[in-house]
Structure formats: structure tokens, C-alpha cells
């Protein structure tokens, strides 16, 4: 095993001759039929990037349209754009983002396993994802869907003119991809840990993905069956979600949000995991309150199931249900707050350096804090009556999902890039991109809180002229944000060919994934490692500190 020596000039580390990128061959066939979790992670990363840019293009057009109060596109085009943006970003980017790319790549490495428990299922999951993705893109190309990603009945079942059934089928299929991934992670975490890797020695990243998997496995089937019911209702004109047919539209909303609220935690929990890896590494300190961080993840994944009807405070649920769900929503805010406090406390008395992953992580904490705090606003029964379905809610969940999750995704991408590719990216470009994303994001979405309180409704292609000023701010911010997101595409791509060789552990990080060469060999470890210490045993640099 090669270790980069610190003395004098850093020499070009030797590339491992045998690694997963070359070992099984480099043909397309060897990639498409691979069972190696790392190769499947790469397949996912490439396809996710495509969907990220498709969804991002739609977002750009949406912001472009909203520069003028009258709108630029026709309403039908605009409605298809935000539906496309929602469906692609939620199901084809955010939900699989960290679990299927970094989770796939890192969980076996982090627990000292040779692969996931069910490699074939893992590959099947990618094929399901791709099939679903093509179905979704096909539905978009032949005319699009205009229901919004929420598919509310009876609009989606009887009134919409779009290709709703195709879109439902796509989401149904991608749901099963998600279930298979979750199942694989759960079994892997339980059954394939290396000797000595006890539960409290697991990195928080593994814990978070485990908590995420629980949600994937237990919530997604409800979404699948609900969407199936909508599809049948639409095709056969008989169903239980349309009052004209004797049904109850709120039943759809209950079932839909039973999945879709926990889905928010599918999106954010893995992000918590990434941040919990990055912050200790660049603060050179153990994670503060490890057990609290771990158990808050588990608490979030469980309580996350208890709060779904807070999406329905003005939809006609009973007053009593509103009181119950609002209280539970406040309860789930507590574990999220615990995490933020713990990350902040980890910085205390550390040796903090500001490499690009750390900048993303700090940005994440800031943006997630704002997103989480505005969650207190919308969880508030009365306040929600004023801001539901306005841009306040739009801004709130973008702070969580884009400000939080996408920042974590990019942070993790940079942090593990040397491990995945064996190359270092240009640091300064990465820092510039991180800053652009942070400031562009705030400029885009902070005005939307104000717009929401003023009463600008979501999914409006045209709006009253008094809202224009804030919308222009938002659109201007979006252009900065777009540059910030496109930039890594170029410098990371460049680094694949020209980047410096990374060595096995460029960040001097703890964790088993750094103990194997970069890129790792196909079966990860030459010999199964034995774990003897808890995670994040960081020592200060340069001189050791004695306590």
C-alpha cells in the first residue's frame, strides 16, 4: 500500500496498477454488465449528471420566464417546464444523488467489505433507473406533463392533457430502483462489516445512508401503489381519488405525502452524512457528539414518517389532525438542530483549513440552517395558512434540497474525487465554484421568501407587477448559480486527464476508504481490514497536541 510521504517535495505517487477502472477490462460491455459497486456508482454518477443538467435547464428557463410579470412562454409550456423540473430533480437527481453515487461507491469501502450484499440487484437498480429515466424523457419529448411533480388528483387523473400515465410509470419504476438500493444498503450494513467494525465505529456517512435506506424501503412502496391507482383511475375513469367518481382527493394526498415527506429526508440525510465526514477532516478534530449525530439521523428517519400531513394544513384535513401533525413537525426539527449544533461545536478548538470540500460543507451548514429554520415557519399551523403554496415554501425547500443537498453532493464529490479517480482537481477553481454557488444560491432564493410572504403563488407563469423587482433579483442570482454549477463540470473533467495523481490519502483523513489505493482495486482491499478504533480519530497538524 502506498502512502504519500510528507517530507520535502510531494513526489508523484505511484498509480495502483490494478484498479477497478481497468481490472475488469475497459470495454463498454465490461461496464454495462459489471457487478462492481464502484463501477455502478460511476454509471449512476454519469446518468445523474445528465439529469441534473436537464432539470437545471428547465430551472433556468423557469427563472427566465419569471423575469417579466407577463411571462415569456405560454402557460402550457411553463407548466410543463416546472413539472419536468420537479420530476427530474426529485426522482432522477435528488433521491438517488448521494446514496446511489457516493453511497454505492463508499459504503463497502467504509465498512471494509468487498462489495454490496447483492451486486446483481445493484446493477438491476441502475437499469431500472435508466429505463425510468428514458420513459420520463420520452414523456417530455412527445408533449410533456403538466401536473406538477405532486400529481394531485383529480387534476392528474381526469383533467390534465399531458402524458401523465407515462410519467407515472417512470416514477413507479424509479421507485423500485430506489427500493432495491435501500434494501442492498441495509443488508450490507448489517451483514458485511469488517471484523471490529462495530456499530459505533461506523462513519456517520454509513449511518445516514442506513437511515435513508429505511425510508426508501418503507415509504417508496406506498408511492408506487398510489401512482398505480392514479394511472388506473386515469385510464379506466374509475377510482377512489376523484370525488366525481365517489372518491376522496385527500386520500391521494395522504398516501402521496406518506412517501413524499419522508422522501425529503431521503434527500437530506445522506447530505448530513457527507458533511459529518468533511467537517472533522478539515477541522482535524473528532466529530463532536458522535452518538447524538448518529441517533438524530435515526430519529429523523423514523419521525419523518409522522409528519406528512403538514403539507395539507389548508387542504381540508380536520383541525385535530392539523394540531397533531404540526406538533410532530416541531418534534422533528429538534434532531436537525442537534446536528447543526454538533457540526458547529466540532469547529471549536480545531485546526481548520478551507479546502473546497470544507467550503461546501460550511456553505451547507449555513444554508441548511436557514432552510431548517424556515421549516419552523411552515410547520406552524397558522403561519402555513398564509404561505402554503407560495414562494415562501418554494424557497424553504430549495434551501434544504439545493442549498443543503446539492452543496453536500458537490462537497462529497470534491472530497472523494481523488479516491474515485486517483486525480486531484484544481483547488482554486473549486473554491471559486463553491463561493459562486453559495452566493448565487442566496441571491436566487432569499428573495423568494419575501415574495412568498407578499403572496406570490407557486406555479404561476405570470404574476402581478409589484412582484417583479424581487423576481429579477432571483433570476439574476440563478444565472450566478448556473455558472457555479457548470464550472465543476469543466475543471473536474479536465482533472480526469491532467490532474495531479492523488495518492491513497490526500487529505490525511481517517476511515477505511483512505487505506486502500486510489483508485481502489476491484475488491477494495487486498486483505480484509480489522478495525480497532472509533472513527474520526484526527490528530492536529502540524505538531501533535498532547492533552
Amino acid at each position: 500500500m502506498t502512502t504519500a510521504t510528507v517530507t520535502g517535495k510531494p513526489e508523484e505517487p505511484v498509480v495502483a496498477t490494478k484498479n477497478y477502472l481497468t481490472e475488469e477490462g475497459t470495454t463498454l460491455r465490461s461496464w454495462l454488465l459489471t457487478r462492481d459497486h464502484k463501477r455502478i456508482a460511476i454509471l449512476y454518477t454519469l446518468s445523474l449528471t445528465v439529469f441534473f443538467f436537464v432539470g437545471g435547464a428547465a430551472a433556468t428557463l423557469i427563472r427566465l420566464n419569471l423575469v417579466t410579470p407577463a411571462g415569456i412562454f405560454t402557460p402550457d409550456i411553463y407548466n410543463r417546464l416546472f413539472t419536468l423540473h420537479g420530476i427530474v430533480m426529485v426522482w432522477f437527481f435528488l433521491i438517488p444523488s448521494i446514496p446511489n453515487t457516493m453511497g454505492n461507491f463508499l459504503i463497502p469501502l467504509m465498512i471494509g467489505a468487498k462489495d454490496l450484499a447483492f451486486p446483481r440487484l445493484n446493477l438491476l437498480s441502475w437499469y431500472l433507473y435508466m429505463g425510468a429515466g428514458f420513459l420520463a424523457l420520452f414523456a417530455i419529448l412527445i408533449g410533456g406533463v403538466d401536473t406538477g411533480w405532486t400529481f394531485y388528483t383529480p387534476f392528474s387523473s381526469l383533467y390534465s392533457n399531458g402524458y401523465v400515465v407515462l410519467a407515472l410509470a417512470a416514477v413507479f419504476a424509479v421507485g423500485f430502483s430506489s427500493i432495491l438500493t435501500g434494501l442492498n444498503f441495509i443488508v450490507t450494513t448489517h451483514r458485511l462489516r469488517a471484523p471490529g467494525m462495530t456499530w459505533y465505529r461506523l462513519p456517520v456517512f454509513v449511518w445516514s445512508n442506513y437511515a435513508t435506506s429505511v425510508i426508501m424501503v418503507l415509504a417508496t412502496p406506498v408511492l408506487a401503489i398510489t401512482l398505480l391507482l392514479v394511472a388506473v383511475e386515469r385510464l379506466l375513469r374509475v377510482g377512489i381519488f376523484d370525488p366525481a367518481l365517489g372518491g376522496d382527493p385527500l386520500l391521494f394526498q395522504h398516501l402521496f405525502w406518506f412517501y413524499s415527506h419522508p422522501a425529503v429526508y431521503i434527500m437530506i440525510l445522506p447530505g448530513f452524512g457527507v458533511i459529518s465526514e468533511i467537517v472533522p477532516c478539515f477541522a482535524r478534530k473528532p466529530l463532536f457528539g458522535y452518538k447524538f449525530v448518529v441517533w438524530s439521523s435515526i430519529a429523523i428517519s423514523v419521525i419523518g414518517f409522522f409528519v406528512w400531513a403538514h403539507h395539507m394544513f389548508v387542504a381540508g384535513i380536520s383541525l385535530y389532525a392539523g394540531l397533531v401533525f404540526s406538533l410532530l413537525s416541531y418534534v422533528i426539527a429538534v434532531p436537525s438542530a442537534i446536528k447543526v449544533f454538533n457540526w458547529t461545536a466540532t469547529l471549536h478548538k480545531g485546526w481548520i483549513s478551507f479546502d473546497a470540500p470544507m467550503l461546501y460543507a460550511l456553505g451547507f451548514i449555513g444554508l441548511f440552517t436557514i432552510g431548517g429554520l424556515t421549516g419552523l415557519f411552515v410547520a406552524n399551523l397558522a403561519f402555513d395558512v398564509h404561505v402554503t403554496d407560495t414562494y415562501f415554501v418554494v424557497a424553504h425547500f430549495h434551501y434544504i434540497m439545493v442549498g443543503g443537498m446539492v452543496s453536500a453532493y458537490f462537497g462529497g464529490l470534491h472530497y472523494w474525487w481523488p479516491k474515485v479517480t486517483g486525480r486531484l482537481y484544481p483547488e482554486w477553481w473549486a473554491r471559486i465554484a463553491a463561493l459562486l454557488i453559495f452566493f448565487g444560491f442566496n441571491l436566487t432564493f432569499f428573495p423568494q421568501f419575501i415574495l412568498g410572504y407578499l403572496g406570490m403563488e407557486r406555479r404561476y407563469y405570470a404574476y402581478p407587477p409589484e412582484f417583479q423587482a424581487w423576481n429579477i433579483f432571483s433570476s439574476a442570482g440563478a444565472s450566478v448559480l448556473a455558472v457555479g454549477y457548470v464550472l465543476p463540470f469543466f475543471y473536474l473533467g479536465w482533472s480526469l486527464f491532467r490532474g495531479k495523481r492523488a495518492g491513497s490519502n490526500p487529505w490525511a483523513a481517517t476511515g477505511l476508504e483512505w487505506k486502500t489505493p486510489s483508485p481502489p482495486p476491484t475488491h477494495n482491499f487486498d486483505r480484509t481490514p480489522t478495525v480497532t478504533r472509533p472513527p474520526y480519530q484526527y490528530r492536529p497538524e502540524p505538531e501533535p497536541q498532547d492533552v
Binding site: 442492498n184 406506498v222 401503489i225 391507482l229 377512489i240 386520500l251
Partner: protein, 222 residues
């Protein structure tokens, strides 16, 4: 995974990510249990819809329940319960390495599954003839027509999706029977049979709940 060698195979080697066959077997069985948890929630969505229908239109559901074919439903329950017995018996035979018994019991289980599907098909045929298929040929008048339509909508979805599960189960069991006949299993290695058994028993359990919800609704009424 299986090689078609005609003579009994010794215990195969575990896949590379596992240290031992035991570890692999535990992972497979645990994986199936997690999958079954998913399945519970998959049916759960429909059951919630059923609960909503029944709670909001109790009389209509009662009348709809009296339209169902309780004889076929009950016989089918008996068929599935018995198939669960033969399946459990088959796993027992596998544990003891009795190849012939295993093959035959798996075959009987699959045949019982087919019998279930056959009866179900006959039942569907009857419902088609009685114009009880919502969306395609539903014709019902009377005060509860709409509820009956919704009931049958859920009936066809629940039993249809259950039927798909039965079909998958039969295919799995048939594959296991063929593999057992070729001697792929031994007292030391029968994980696939065990896991298939778990799935089959789950399909049985789902039916155990569907049976009273569908066939026994409203039976005590007029």
C-alpha cells in the same frame, strides 16, 4: 448462479463479498425479510384505500361484499393454506437433504398455486359475465352502485396484484424444483429454497387478510 450439472453438487463457494456460505445465507434471508417489509407497505396503500371506502360507505361495501363468490374465495384460501404447508414441508425436506421429496413437494406447491390462479380466473370470468368489472363493463343500478364500483375497483387491484405475486411465486418455485431435481441443493446449501419459501408464505399471509375483507364483508346482513 446454477450450473446444470446432472450430479449432486457439493456446497458451492460463496460470492466474493462474503466470507462464508453462512454469511451469504443470512444476508439472503435477511434481504428477503426486508423486501417483505416493502411489500407490506405496498399492499398497505391499497388497504388504506379499502379502509377509507368501508368506513365512509359501510352499507355499500356490505352489499358489494355479498356480490363476491364466497365459495371460490374460501376454497382458494384453503388451497393457499395447503400450499404453505407443502412449502414449509419442502423446506424441511431440503434441510434434511431429501432431494426427491423436495422436488415433489415444490412441484405440488407450484401446482396448488396454479390451481389458485385457475379458480381466480374462473371467478374473474364470472364477474365479467355479471358486469362487475369497473371501467370496462360495469353495470349496476341501485343506491350503492357507486360504492360497489369502487369496491370492485379495489377488489380487482388487490386480487390482481396478489395474483401477480402468486405468479412470480409459482415461477420461482418451479425454478427451485428444477434445480432441486438437478441436485443443486443439499443439507448444507438450500438458501434459495428457504428464501422462496419466505416469499410464498408472505403471499399466503396477504391472502389471509384479503379473504375476510373481500369475501366476508356484509355476510351477516340481509
Amino acid at each position: 448462479m446454477s450450473d446444470a450439472t446432472p450430479h449432486p453438487q457439493p456446497v458451492p463457494r460463496p460470492e466474493p463479498q462474503y466470507a462464508t456460505m453462512d454469511q451469504q445465507a443470512e444476508a439472503a434471508s435477511f434481504g428477503m425479510w426486508v423486501f417483505l417489509a416493502t411489500e407490506v407497505l405496498f399492499f398497505g396503500g391499497m388497504l388504506l384505500a379499502y379502509a377509507w371506502l368501508r368506513a365512509s360507505h359501510p352499507d355499500g361495501v356490505a352489499e358489494a361484499g355479498r356480490h363476491t363468490k364466497v365459495v371460490i374465495g374460501s376454497v382458494n384460501t384453503l388451497v393457499l393454506l395447503t400450499s404453505s404447508l407443502t412449502m414449509a414441508w419442502a423446506v424441511h425436506a431440503a434441510e434434511h437433504g431429501r432431494r426427491t421429496a423436495l422436488t415433489r413437494l415444490l412441484a405440488v406447491t407450484a401446482l396448488l398455486g396454479l390451481l389458485f390462479l385457475g379458480l381466480k380466473g374462473y371467478e374473474y370470468h364470472g364477474e365479467w359475465a355479471e358486469h362487475l368489472v369497473p371501467g370496462l363493463n360495469f353495470q349496476e343500478n341501485g343506491p350503492h352502485a357507486r360504492t360497489i364500483e369502487l369496491f370492485y375497483f379495489l377488489y380487482f387491484l388487490l386480487t390482481g396484484i396478489h395474483g401477480i405475486h402468486v405468479t412470480i411465486g409459482i415461477v420461482l418455485i418451479a425454478v427451485m424444483a428444477v434445480r432441486a431435481r438437478r441436485g443443486a441443493f443439499s443439507a448444507g446449501y438450500f438458501t434459495p429454497v428457504e428464501v422462496t419459501g419466505l416469499y410464498w408464505h408472505f403471499v399466503d399471509i396477504v391472502w389471509i387478510f384479503l379473504y375476510p375483507l373481500i369475501y366476508l364483508a356484509g355476510r351477516s346482513g340481509p
